[in-house]
Amino acid sequence: MLDLTYETPKPKVIAGATGDWELVIGLEVHAQVASKAKLFSGASTQFGAEPNSNVAFVDAAMPGMLPVINEFCVAQAVRTGLGLQAEINLVSAFDRKNYFYPDLPQGYQISQLYHPIVGEGEVLVSMAPGVARKVRIERIHLEQDAGKSIHDMDPHMSFVDLNRTGVALMEIVSRPDIRGPEEAAAYVVKLRQILRYLGTCDGNMQNGNLRADVNVSVCRPGDYEKYQETQDFSHLGTRCEIKNMNSMRFIQQAIEYEARRQIAILEDGGAIDQETRLYDPDKGETRSMRSKEEAHDYRYFPCPDLLPLEIEQAWVDDIEASLPELPDAKLVRFVADYGMTEYDAGVLTADVESAAYFEEVARGRDGKLAANWVINELFGRLKKEDHDITESPVTAAQLGQIIDLISADTISGKIAKDVFEITYTTGRDPEEVVENEGMKQVTDTGAIEAAVDQVIADNPAQVEKAKENPKLAGWFVGQVMKATGGKANPKAVNQLVAQKLGL
């Protein structure tokens, strides 16, 4: 494996009236499988379709309809498991989780309680260069999503759309290894990054394609270490589960609020009820979902409509052979091959498209210069217009041309920024822009010399001052650059100014 040496981050500590408290957090992330059709039906998974237009009779739970599993969704779950270095279970099985809700026409969700398809794995969550938390994955199982209820279209009725019903989800369950709100958000970011590299989930949180249930408890310093030693949960506090969050910011706020709520209860001599809670971002607080309590008796049993899911090791091996280079490996390689900092490598490998763009720019060129241009100029410019790398008007080949022009001393770094701006706004090739706009750097010392002489001749008073204060040479350089439209080679100008002023 990769040699990633790192320090473990400190847990978040909240000072209470009776002493310090630490946080213990585990996450269940629901990731929508990137597939065309649903887990057990041939209806489309496309987001934003007309209500109830992506519904097969299986999804609507019409009597007599039977589920048939989508093999691609199974492959995606296996792929995800392999990407998280997890064990793949060649035999898994589906169970029914029974509860009543209008957006669940079957009256049960088909899930995998007893025999999930993916077992234990791990995710390395980087918190700062050289500091990371290893979060253990307990399991990943495949299950059906529910439909969507809309409550604000009518004062007395709820409206139900079954388009999402039956779409394949991967529920990725972590161990309680996360020790603070920032770590929880960083874990989701990392998971999302890996899923997007793998192409198994698009990670779109706004559309609800990635959402998290967060389990939070608090304990006294030292208790967590006892849990890690023994894996005995009795060392930890009672947890509450905050359901269904689809923003990194809300996840952090909800954890912070929930931890303080629990500490206040415990310090008042009370006890925490294990319960499901909902985060209200408007009020910034969590509240109990009492109606869910009774429904918690899900009366799971094996789904009689589905045989166990048996897959072959050779098929798993084929999937493993097709895995792309993953973020951790890519980051280590970028640092080693291009000599960039871990921070820059982290920025460039944040998503697979940025990394691919950078590598195309850097191929056969100075890696550090390429990294600089991609991160500072391109990303900066894209951010200004709220665009992402896939929307870049400057192609990797064009940015490569700019770097070649700088490296060949054809243009200065300053002019290069002007060329970049022209290419960005018009799409014109940098080489053509430099040629036709007369932006080539003047390296002809004769021409530069003439310009230097002219400036010196025009400013005798400044010349006198410069002789006493050599720092004024900079002013002359500026004047020469201005006179040459910024095209003079700055190095040559510096030398000539110093020489002519006798500095």
Binding site: P51, S149, M289, D297, L306
Partner: protein, 95 residues
């Protein structure tokens, strides 16, 4: 395992089946009869025996990831007691 009247009431509620109080004792009795019958199976030693999931040697049938169904909202909604603007309309349920 013995099912009392309270457990019978709870099971009925979870299954959303309305059972009158007078009928609960009989229901609990039936549950106990069924469970007693099933519990006889516990007497069999199944140590090392793979659970049988099908009487025929079948592999779980699979589908390709292709969209084959949809655009039939009218049919999906045909039996709904109430539907509006393409949605099922149900009494308000809000958390």
């Amino acid at each position: 395992m013995s099912i009392d009247i309270e457990t019978a009431r709870r099971v009925a509620k979870l299954a959303r089946i309305k059972v009158e109080d007078d009928d609960l004792p009989a229901l609990a009795g039936e549950f106990n009869a069924i469970l007693g019958f099933v519990e006889q199976l516990n007497e069999v030693d199944v140590e090392g025996v793979e659970p049988m999931t099908s009487v025929t040697p079948m592999r779980l049938k699979r589908r390709e990831d292709v969209v084959t169904e949809g655009d039939q909202a009218d049919k999906v909604l045909a039996n709904a007691p109430d539907a509006r603007e393409g949605f099922f309309a149900v009494p308000k349920v809000v958390e």
